[in-house]
Amino acid sequence: MAEFFHMGGYAFYVWMSFGISALVLLVNFLQPLLKHRQALREAEDYYSEV
């Protein structure tokens, strides 16, 4: 397993690439989730008054 992570000496570059990509895409996944939840809460407040 160890040499798998070693990636023939390029461990830093390979795992950094996959890591940053995963991070950026995760942000793109979470942002709409939070925004959707927040918009729903706003809608509920808006209609609770009306």
Binding site: G8, Y10, S17, E44, Y46, Y47
Partner: protein
């Protein structure tokens, strides 16, 4: 109304699109994961190391799909821009503003992984290679589209202005790309472009196609989620949101 027109009309209506997108999201997410796992496994483990680049060529499995997607997303936005301007479909404008950040993220990933791939192979973090330079310009165009939409308060005007900018962009992108390629040959000895995928062996190709397909579904997934959020936020005071809120409250009471 024939079936296509009915579909076309309904897709444009938020109260129909919002629940439909909600139902589709789990399925799209499932397909994405089903493609991602084998793609990653084959890409990182089973695919043979490249005789020149060794293991670092595996960065290709993230760099190339991200670069493809950054262009695919822009093409999809350009089509939506035509639909938005010619048939005045508001849903197409929501699609564009939801796609822009996703496209920008793919372009950003392509740039970062490109420089991480370049460093071990050619010793420089940034290489003024034709494709990387075009990708950087595409990244700035995405930012411009996103910034324009957010700078205009009235969302109807913002949508139209953004659609026009998207179309201006789609006409300019080929011109920019070929002038950058020409500029690149002028300033560097005509080496084979550094980011041509290596002579692709079948075991290397399959994970690449799997990863590309996985990224396509990821784009669809992120797009649907972003469109639902943007729609709900913009249409706060309109009838269909009121119906959804009351339905949710009814289920909670049950």
């Amino acid at each position: 109304m024939n079936i296509i027109a009915k579909w076309y009309y309904r897709l444009g209506a938020p109260n129909w699109f919002y629940p439909l997108a909600g139902k589709m999201i789990p399925w799209v997410a499932a397909i994405f994961v089903a493609l991602l796992i084998p793609g990653l496994y084959m890409g990182l483990v089973t695919a043979p190391a490249d005789y020149q680049q060794g293991e670092s060529f595996r960065i290709m499995y993230v760099h190339v799909p991200a670069a493809w997607l950054s262009m695919f997303v822009y093409a999809a936005m350009a089509i939506a821009a035509v639909v938005a301007l010619v048939w005045r479909v508001r849903m197409a404008e929501i699609m564009i503003i939801s796609s822009a950040p996703i496209g920008a993220s793919f372009a950003f990933i392509a740039l970062i992984t490109g420089s991480l791939w370049g460093k071990p192979m050619w010793g420089a973090w940034w290489v003024w290679d034709a494709r990387l330079t075009s990708e950087l310009i595409l990244f700035f165009i995405y930012l411009g589209i996103f910034a324009l939409y957010n700078a205009i308060e009235d969302k109807q005007t913002a949508g139209k202005a953004m659609s026009i900018l998207t179309l201006v962009g789609v006409i300019n992108l080929p011109i920019i790309h070929y002038s950058v390629v020409w500029w690149n040959t002028l300033h560097q000895a005509a080496t084979v472009s550094k980011f041509d995928t290596p002579s692709i062996h079948i075991d290397m190709l399959i994970p690449l196609l799997l990863m590309a397909a996985a990224f396509q579904f990821l784009y669809l997934l992120l797009l649907l989620m972003k469109m639902r959020a943007n729609l709900l936020e913009q249409d706060l005071a309109s009838g269909w949101v009121k119906k959804i809120v009351f339905e949710r409250q009814k289920n909670l009471k049950k």
